[in-house]
Symmetry: C2
Subunit: 365 residues, 2 copies
């Protein structure tokens, strides 16, 4: 460092974005769509921005094949905000007092439980805590309650690098999934979920917009204490513009959606993400230096976590990786180790480069 | 239209930004601070972003002369979000049950009352509704309750163009002021307020960050139902980073703060804003076509609202203004008429241009 060129940035979020999207944004900074003003300076009620918003919305619907009985909201406050908003919007649906079930697979679902507890009973229906959150709790262990309004999962735990390999069956209870770190990374059947939500700053765009995809029958049940900006009914009735939305973040998300469509859509991303993560897991599986602790059937294709069996090499690994133009590899402080976040915008070449570096580092060690 | 050059954008928010800030942002899109990544792609926990955040914070403290017994938070959800967060954080301080007083001077304080009512008693201590919100309620009419936790005002009502000409005296009760549309536009004595809050998208930067300035003794009284991202205590203890903040919006706000310092700070802005608004009010006062309805002692220096006595000229006015390179002049749909929003980033030349256009339009009419 310092770098005069773009490097491979493996940060967990905010994370790397497609270069051509950033270039377009740079150009739209001062002048956008012939309006004589930049994209950030234009009213959210203007025809130009409303078109931008509608395009972003439609492209997301196309990319994820979102059925017509779902509403897509662009909100503020991140996934942690929705951790409060979801119980406020849904817990009233429980038969005997506000209650929901949680499948705890790591740091993020722990946070979700704590937040939901403010609004009702947050039941831990299953947890992999005894397995150090190195896997998703096995479906056979789930103790779901018929009195719960919904079942909450985190589809991909960014910190641990633990991901559901398939959509779990929870019967007729609405399934609520935090897909902050794997939205648009693989094909999912939206109709099997009641609510999908995601902060944008991992697989989509800059921090500042939170996407909530909610089945229509789950809208309209908000507790009276729900802040208006998180009342799904109010926002669904107002194009998510009950107050000024984060226009630039929505614009950026829209540009990323266009880039995804051009790049082959979610089908192509899924193939690439499979290939990218496989490259790194192969290194781990063939190594006597690197240790991947996540169970094979719960391995994340987005956040590949690993440890060095010789911890004294920790700083050398990070330093040499950085010298070779690869940053953001330090694991989350709560678990230590390393983490390579390889979202959609991380090209295959970046992961090949990292895999090669890891092999050479081990050879030299 | 379409314009190939920057024009004068009088939009109420998102609003015009300083050209040199936008140019800097354009350059930082792909490569920032030698990190090999753009400003939006960098972790909020990285030293580079933490420095950026600390600089923004310190520059805001300097610009507003914020005393050391105040905390400055950079949150999400806009002023409408804080309309919920403020009662949740403060209403418990009331002596006999959650309660606060509101001085209703327009659309925004009406919204504040509605939102606060979800969490306790929102008393309308004064209102200028009978004066069609063409003025701030006269201080002599305020019926403040000793049982209220705080008094809420909107220092500048963007829709009506109504602004407090001075800080009202409310005794020892904490004064809470929404300064979304006039933050940093004139010198204020922060020590006379308990809480100041502002969405950034009018006088600061892009939509997406909400600034909350709160006296330390008012922190730590949140209701148990307060969402974590809005619990001032939690956010104050965590550099406003209990979840991923809107890093790009904070970066942009920081760039605007630097531009303000270079441009002479708030003292200079106050002079300019006085001069700018005076130019337009003079046109209104000397006109038989334009009608300013806001009482002289409540005239906003940020949003100059006016009507055309001959309503048939409405579209022609907007069209000819746009042809002359001035946009965003249509008033809020709830009140009609025209509105020129002339925040800090609107140069004197832009206002001179508008004043001249208005005079010429009247001459031709």
């Amino acid at each position: 460092m310092p770098f005069q060129h773009r490097i491979y940035n493996f940060a967990p979020g905010p994370a790397t974005l497609p270069e051509e999207v950033l270039e377009a944004a740079g150009k739209d900074m001062l002048l956008w769509q012939g309006l004589g003003a930049g994209v950030m300076e234009v009213s959210h009620r203007s025809p130009a921005f409303m078109n931008c918003y509608q395009d972003a919305l439609q492209n997301l619907i196309d990319l994820m094949k979102i059925p017509s009985n779902y509403k897509v909201l662009f909100l503020q406050g991140g996934a942690i905000g929705q951790n409060a908003a979801i119980p406020m919007n849904l817990m009233k649906l429980a038969k005997s007092g506000p209650q929901a079930d949680f499948i705890v697979s790591g740091v993020w679902t722990q946070k979700s439980v704590a937040e939901a507890s403010k609004y009702g009973t947050a039941r831990i229906a299953a947890t992999s805590k005894d397995q150090h959150f190195h896997c998703v709790p096995d479906r056979s262990t789930w103790d779901l309650s018929p009195d719960s309004a919904y079942v909450h999962i985190c589809d991909n735990e960014t910190v641990g690098g633990v991901e559901f390999s398939q959509t779990p069956d929870v019967g007729n209870t609405p399934l609520v999934a935090d897909i902050s770190s794997n939205i648009l990374s693989r094909e999912i059947d939206v109709s099997r979920y009641g609510v999908l939500f995601a902060g944008a700053q991992k697989n989509i765009g800059p921090a500042g917009v939170t996407i909530v995809i909610v089945r229509e029958d789950l809208i309209g049940h908000a507790m009276p204490i729900t802040p208006t900006i998180w009342d799904w009914q109010v926002q669904a009735n107002n194009d998510s513009m009950i107050n000024t939305p984060t226009t630039f973040a929505i614009y950026m998300a829209g540009e990323v959606f266009k880039w995804l469509k051009k790049s082959g859509g979610v089908t192509q991303m899924e193939k690439l993400n499979q290939q990218k993560s496989q490259l790194l897991y192969e290194v781990l599986d063939q190594s006597s230096l690197y240790e991947g602790r996540v169970h094979k059937d719960s391995r994340s294709r987005m956040n590949v976590t690993f440890y060095l069996r010789d911890e004294s090499l920790f700083e050398a690994f990070l330093k040499q990786a950085s010298d070779a133009g690869m940053t953001g590899l330090k694991g989350h402080k709560s678990v230590g180790g390393m983490r390579a976040s390889i979202y959609n915008a991380m090209p295959l070449e970046g992961v090949q480069c990292l895999a090669q570096f890891m092999r050479e580092f081990e050879r030299r060690a």
